[in-house]
């Protein structure tokens, strides 16, 4: 048996893909988006709070943030989702009825927050103390200085890592499946998986992958574009051989000096 043609049949069967396409478009895509977008917003918000708590000098903020991060990053996502889904099910039942989405979004957000919090913390901690001093000398309180000066710089430094996490989140949204979904509540991956199971062919799964790509690639490039815009012309380097592409090292220097633009030494 020719292994290549087996591979091709298994993953690139266009008929299987065409069959799965309508359901992916009408059911899977919206559901994935609902889950991922809500969890991304909530998770980033919580992550920012965790990051701030994690660098606080107040032990009573720092320690809980540390423990939270360790636990929610360390546990397998399936276990966390089940714990929250099952543990809070009676509560969720009362508030939202049997719809597993609210609890699923909550669980996804709580997990994402642990990761995003560490990313934001890294970014914020990499901002030079001089910046904080500069802001505080103007009369800003610690909170204002963080919000207006430090956090914007810190977050910008870790945007790609944050995008990493959003992408992971888009894909983790398939885990709400553990909470039990109606057919109309299934997201992209689950639909791909179900088609794969029913046809004995992985092409639908690959199609789900293509949908993910269609979400994640524009996301990546949009954020990279924003990132570059924010650095505004300061995408600049002292670089090796050049074929005139965009730039490399950002000139986001704490104490900036004139940067050469496209005048790189070789």
């Amino acid at each position: 048996m020719d292994p290549l043609s087996t591979l091709w049949e298994t993953f690139f069967d266009t008929d299987s893909m065409r069959e799965a396409l309508p359901e992916m478009l009408t059911v899977g895509l919206p559901n994935t988006l609902i889950l991922a977008v809500s969890a991304a917003l909530l998770g980033s918000l919580l992550g920012m709070l965790l990051a701030i708590a994690g660098i606080s000098r107040t032990r009573w903020l720092r320690w809980p943030a540390r423990v939270y991060t360790d636990v929610f990053r360390g546990l397998p996502a399936a276990a966390t989702i089940l714990l929250i889904g099952v543990g809070l099910a009676p509560l969720g039942m009362e508030i939202w009825g049997p719809n597993p989405y609210p609890l699923g979004i909550l669980a996804l957000s709580l997990i994402a927050a642990a990761y995003i919090g560490e990313i934001f913390r890294a970014g914020i901690q990499s901002v030079e103390v001089a910046q904080l001093e500069g802001a505080r000398a103007l009369g800003f309180s610690w909170g204002e200085a963080m919000r207006l000066v430090i956090v914007p710089q810190g977050v910008r430094r870790v945007l790609p890592a944050w995008v990493n996490q959003l992408i992971a989140l888009i894909k983790d949204s398939s885990l709400v499946y553990f909470l039990g979904l109606l057919a109309s509540q299934r997201e992209l991956f689950r639909i791909g998986q179900d088609y794969a199971a029913n046809t004995g062919n992985q092409s639908a799964l690959l199609l789900a992958g293509l949908f993910y790509l269609a979400l994640t690639v524009p996301l990546t490039h949009a954020v990279n574009w924003i990132d570059r815009r924010l650095r505004q012309g300061r995408t600049v380097t002292v670089h090796p051989d050049d074929d005139g592409g965009p730039a490399a090292l950002a000139g986001e220097s704490a104490l900036p000096r004139p940067n050469p633009t496209r005048k790189d030494p070789r």
Binding site: T6, A78, L82, A89, P98, Y177, F178, A183, D194, Q202
Partner: protein, 258 residues
């Protein structure tokens, strides 16, 4: 929690939603349980719909992961679990089972041209099974050290890639895969599985369990069970040692219903 007697009156089976039987199932295990055109179906699920109708309940299916299913039944996320769950002692600690409604044959799939012809020749071979299934249990208790994969596709891939020597499959699935493989895979042998499969209920929800046991007997008696057997497992003989339901009703023969 503490249902008061008033609630118990209009919800005698202590369902999550009165009148609706919320059933946890899988979406990806045909022909037993699966999704087709956006609707849950398969032998187990169709049978459940029929039995529940006898008790006056409408079924709402919810797809989940098998490793989570039984604890979700136990935690009342679902009223019932329907996924060809084999009755085992370990599972009985977590959930209660209704009466058995199905049995299983094991099929032994091998790559075309394999020297393996029977279940007794598997020692020392790379035998693949789907994780957590009765076949897994079977292979493990026989000391075969099986290769576990998450789903049937994984098993088929193993055979095709030559990374496994044999696959112990549910017989009907093994046959379908062999038929679909353009002669690359053949079924070498079949064997009856001992334990029956049954619906799972939360512990202590005896009212519901007994009601559905009764409904099951009724759909056996009226020939629905036999019809579904024919539909999903055409040509599969029913072994003499297996009786569905409580065993107190007669099973009409296939010819009698069709």
């Amino acid at each position: 929690g503490g249902d008061d007697s008033a609630a118990a009156a209009d919800n005698p089976y202590r369902l999550l939603q009165p009148g609706v039987l919320r059933a946890g199932t899988l979406t990806d295990a045909p022909p037993n349980v699966y999704l087709e055109d956006g609707a849950f179906t398969g032998f187990d699920n169709d049978l459940l719909v029929a039995a529940a109708a006898k008790v006056g309940l409408k079924v709402e299916f919810v797809g989940t992961d098998f490793s989570a299913l039984l604890s979700q039944v136990n935690n009342r996320t679902f009223d019932i679990g329907s996924s060809s769950v084999t009755i085992t002692e370990a599972r009985k600690k977590t959930v209660d089972f209704g009466n058995g409604y199905d049995f299983g044959y094991f099929g032994l799939d091998v790559p075309a041209g394999s020297p393996i012809t029977g279940f007794d020749q598997l020692a020392g071979k790379r035998v693949v099974v789907v994780q957590g299934t009765v076949q897994d249990d079977y292979a493990t208790t026989k000391g075969l050290n099986p290769v576990r994969v998450p789903d049937y596709n994984g098993a088929i891939n193993q055979l095709k890639a030559g990374t496994a020597d044999a696959w112990i499959a549910p017989a009907e699935i093994g046959e379908k895969s062999a038929a679909d493989s353009n002669g690359k895979i053949t079924v070498a042998a079949k064997e009856l599985s001992r334990a029956p499969t049954a619906y799972a209920f939360a512990k202590g929800n005896d009212a519901l369990r007994e009601a559905l046991n009764k409904g099951l007997d009724e759909v056996i008696a009226d020939g629905t069970w036999t019809r579904l057997q024919e539909q999903y497992y055409p040509g599969r003989p029913i072994p003499a040692e297996f009786t569905p339901g409580s065993g107190t009703v007669a099973v009409p023969s296939a010819s009698a219903t069709s």
